[in-house]
Symmetry: C2
C-alpha cells in the first residue's frame, strides 16, 4: 500500500465514523433536566460533579450545592464557589461532618436539615443544577428514607439537573437515573504512602 493509498483509507474510515455519529446524534432532540448519579469505590465522583459545576458557572447558570458529608471549609471547590456568590447557593450542614462522629441522632438531624435545603432548591426553577454531594451515604446508613428522597428527585422542577454522588448508590436510584457512572479504582497513591494533596483531593 502506498502512502497515498494509506491516507485515502484513513480518510474513508474517518468519513464513515463521522457519518455514523451524525446519524446517531440526529434523533437526540430531547432537552430535560437529568438525574445524574456518580457512584463506585473509585475517585472522581464528587470531582466530576465539581466539573459540571464549573461548566454551569462558566455559562453563568445558577447552581445549588448541598454537601451531605466530608465537606471541608478549606477545599478548593468551596473557595471557588465563594467567588461566585450570585450563582452558587452552598449548603453544608454540620461543618466538617465526616460520618466519623459517634452521635447517630446528630447525624440524622444534620442529614434531614441538608435534605430540606436540597428539596427547596430542587423545586426552585432558578437553579439550572443541584448537586447533592454524598447523598448516597445518607441512604446507605438509612439516615434519610429512600422513598422520600426518590420522591423529592422525581418531583423536582423538570428543567433541573440533579447530580447525586457517593459510593453504594441504591439500585432504585440508579434505576431512576438518566445517566449513571461507576468510578472504579485502577490504581491509588494512598497504597504507596502518598497523602491527600491540595488541588487534587481537596
Amino acid at each position: 500500500m502506498t502512502l497515498e493509498e494509506a491516507d485515502d483509507l484513513h480518510r474513508q474510515k474517518k468519513a464513515k465514523i463521522a457519518a455514523a455519529k451524525e446519524k446517531l446524534y440526529a434523533d437526540k432532540v430531547i432537552e430535560k433536566g437529568l438525574l445524574i448519579v456518580h457512584t463506585g469505590t473509585g475517585k472522581g465522583k464528587s470531582t466530576a460533579a465539581w466539573g459540571m459545576a464549573m461548566r454551569c458557572l462558566g455559562h453563568g447558570l445558577k447552581l445549588g450545592v448541598v454537601q451531605f458529608g466530608k465537606g471541608s471549609r478549606d477545599s478548593g471547590e468551596r473557595a471557588l464557589f465563594t467567588r461566585f456568590p450570585d450563582l452558587v447557593r452552598l449548603v453544608a450542614v454540620g461543618e466538617g461532618f465526616t460520618w466519623e462522629t459517634q452521635d447517630k441522632a446528630a447525624d440524622i438531624a444534620a442529614a434531614k436539615e441538608a435534605f430540606a435545603a436540597a428539596c427547596a432548591m430542587l423545586q426552585d426553577p432558578s437553579f439550572h443544577m443541584v448537586i447533592l454531594d454524598e447523598l448516597n451515604i445518607t441512604l446507605r446508613y438509612e439516615y434519610l428514607p429512600l422513598d422520600e428522597v426518590l420522591a423529592a428527585l422525581r418531583s423536582r422542577h423538570p428543567a433541573c439537573h440533579a447530580v447525586v454522588t457517593g459510593r453504594n448508590a441504591r439500585p432504585e436510584l440508579i434505576e431512576m437515573a438518566d445517566l449513571a457512572t461507576e468510578m472504579t479504582l485502577l490504581k491509588h497513591p494512598f497504597r504507596d504512602g502518598v497523602k491527600a494533596q491540595i488541588g487534587v483531593e481537596f
Copy 2:
C-alpha cells in the same frame, strides 16, 4: 435491644471506623506530583479533570490545560478558565478538533503542536497541575509516539500533578500512573433520545 443500646452499638461501630481510618492515614506522608489517569468508556473523565482544575483555581494555584481533542470554544469550562487569566494557560490546537477530520497529516501536526506545549508546561515549576485532556486518543491512533509521551511525563517537574484523560488508556500509562480511575457507563440518556446539554456535557 433498647434504643440506648442501639445508640451505644452505633457509637462503638463509628469509633472503630474512625480509629481504623486514623491508623490508615498516619503513614500517608509523601507529597509529590501525581500522574493521574481517567479512562474508561463512561462519562466523567474530562469532567473530573475540570473538577480538579476548579480546586486548583479555588486555591489560587496555577494550571495548564492542553486539549488534544473535542475542545469547544463554547464550553463552560473554557468560559470559566478565561475568568482566571493569571492562573490558567489553555492550549487547544485545531480549534473544534474532534478527530472526525479526514486529514491524518493535519491531525498528527495538531497533536504534535499540542504535545510540544504540554512538554513546556510539564517542565515549568510554576504550574501546580497540567491537564492533558484527551491525550489518550492521540496514543490510541498513534498520532504521538508512546515512548516520547511517557518520557515527557516521567521527566516532568517533580511537584507537578499531570492529569491524562480519554478512553483506551495505554496499559503502559496506567502502569506508570499513581492514580488511575476507570469510568464505566451504567446508564446514558443518549440511549433515550436526550441530547447533550449545557452545563452537563459542555
